[in-house]
């Protein structure tokens, strides 16, 4: 029971970390960034480069943010910006970008599975259960990410402007807010968060040119059922991630792997707003 609760909480934490960047971009720009998986892969390789350089494995996180952020800037400027009026085309173009990112990484690093140093290993005893220390640490990191993002959105001028653009872009522009810049910064931040997510999952996952892709669809579905709120994303991660763990444990891991996508699709069919408030 305790193990299962920990499984649910840690799974939700991982999903949350993976989906926040996508949520931010979707919230502000109303487009789905299919390059999110590719940017996660980039983050994973940033972690690889960091540990190969012999640096502290925790440094992988800022390095990955940098990699993701810089790629995000280029993507926003040259690919996403011309497509604001064509949201479905933006999906396709960012999907094409993820192909490009994957192939460039393959050419640079090879197709092979790479190994990164985990910043934390071993287990922790918690409520009489010995549990993976890194997974537990991820709960803290995801919480910190969520709080930092909330602080950014709630406590800074940029955050305020970002929220203003999400709520009513024309009104924001009329008040002198450069919404194109806000979009650019948001996409950059979203891409940086994707990079961070990629670095965060490397101790659990392998580092290979496709590492981000399996995460994409689940993250995408979680964002769609969450609307544009960090809070409803948390709820979605706990509910759908929890359902995934329960189905995988009590029925089959294969069905578990489909749980988030299928449940989210059905939830959206019944309640188009998903977990978002009215």
């Amino acid at each position: 029971m305790i193990a299962q609760t920990l499984d649910i909480v840690t799974t939700a934490a991982i999903l949350y970390a993976v989906a926040t960047g996508l949520l931010l971009v979707f919230g502000v720009m109303k487009i789905i960034n299919f390059a999110h998986g590719g940017l996660m892969t980039l983050g994973g390789y940033a972690a690889l480069v960091t540990t190969q350089a012999g640096w502290n494995p925790w440094l992988a996180i800022p390095v990955a943010a940098l990699f993701g952020g810089v790629a995000g800037m280029a993507i926003e400027r040259f690919v996403v910006r011309p497509l604001y009026a064509r949201p479905l085309d933006a999906i396709l173009a960012t999907w094409g970008l993820s192909i490009i990112i994957g192939q460039v990484i393959t050419i640079a690093f090879g197709r092979g599975v790479q190994f990164t140093q985990a910043p934390l290993s071993g287990t922790l005893d918690l409520f009489g259960e010995s549990y993976s220390a890194y997974r537990l640490a991820l709960v803290g990191i995801a919480a910190a990410l969520g709080l930092a993002l909330t602080a950014l959105l709630q406590g800074t001028r940029l955050g305020l402007e970002t929220r203003a653009v999400i709520m009513n872009e024309d009104l924001a522009r009329g008040l002198g807010i450069n919404s194109a810049l806000v979009r650019f910064l948001t996409f950059t931040l979203g891409a940086a968060l994707a990079g961070v997510a990629g670095a965060l999952i490397t101790p659990l996952s392998s580092v290979d040119p496709n590492m981000g892709v399996p995460w994409l669809v689940n993250a995408f579905m979680l964002v769609l059922v969450s609307g544009a709120s960090l809070l409803s994303l948390l709820v979605a991660c706990l509910v759908l991630g929890g359902a995934q763990v329960l189905v995988a444990t009590h029925f089959s891991p294969v069905l578990g792997g489909l749980t988030i996508a299928v449940l989210a699709a059905v939830i959206l069919r019944i309640r188009p707003k998903g977990f978002a408030r009215d």
């Binding site: 709520m167 009513n168 009104l171 924001a172 522009r173 009329g174 008040l175 002198g176 450069n178 194109a180």
Partner: protein, 242 residues
């Protein structure tokens, strides 16, 4: 076409020349020219659907300009995007959805006020609508309709804007609130010399606060004059009558 008279003692704070605009295919505003001197208040009147809101949106850069030019305090603003126009010191108050309902009063103010001096902005709010200072942490959407309009006015004044473009601020308001707004507008002009273009359907309010008026009919300026002229009311009513 009738161009409202320009007071030559002031440099024009806003000059619109031959402006045409509208929505996909439909020209709503046709070759409108007008100029407002610094510190002057112009009321643009007219029935619904005559292009008043469209005129403001086009000046702000929300709608494409099919022809003509807009100059704000000597700066060409014809091709600027809305946020650039706003940064020229233009405060725009839209008719609908002009507040972030889910943000607090304070956040609504902060969004409009650029630069570090938020305290000065609050002082300006205190001078016009002091009750708002007690409601800073309240969500704007929970204010009453009249309070929301007052917040709108306060917000545009707090920015220190030199030119206000205000779209039907009096719509749906109680007379007491309208009177209060009129007072604040007069006082703001006295203290800061703020220039204003008020789109209005409320004739007494418009004539009470504005120096001059212009009537927009089918997207064109049909008539214009000074508020002080004794027949102003009758001339406007002719265009507005049922």
């Amino acid at each position: 076409m009738i161009t409202p008279h320009v007071d030559t003692h002031h440099a024009p704070a806003l000059e619109v020349a031959g402006l045409s605009s509208g929505y996909a295919g439909a020209v709503v505003v046709r070759e409108v020219s007008l100029a407002i001197g610094a510190g002057e208040i112009l009321a643009v009147l007219g029935k619904n659907g005559m292009g008043k809101s469209t005129l403001l949106k086009a000046m702000m850069g929300f709608l494409p300009k099919m022809a003509g030019s807009v100059t704000i305090a000597g700066t060409a603003a014809t091709r600027l995007s809305p946020h650039r126009v706003a940064r020229l010191g233009v405060g725009y108050v839209a008719q609908e959805k002009a507040l972030f309902q889910d943000l607090t009063v304070e956040e609504n103010l902060k969004l409009a006020v650029r630069g570090p001096d938020f305290a000065a902005a609050l002082a300006e709010v205190e001078a016009s609508f002091p009750f708002l200072l007690q409601r800073l942490k309240q969500r704007a959407g929970t204010l009453s309709g009249g309070e929301q309009k007052m917040l709108l006015m306060a917000r545009s004044l707090a920015t220190g804007a030199r030119l206000l473009l205000v779209d039907e601020i009096t719509e749906g308001l109680q007379p007491s609130v309208i009177d209060r707004l009129a007072g604040v507008i007069r006082s703001a002009r006295e203290r800061h010399g703020t220039t204003m273009l008020l789109v209005e359907q409320h004739l007494p309010f418009a004539l009470a606060v504005a120096d001059r008026w212009a009537v927009l009919d089918r997207g064109e300026i049909a008539e214009a004059g000074a508020s002080s002229e004794p027949d102003a009311r009758a001339r406007v009513l002719k265009h507005l009558s049922v």
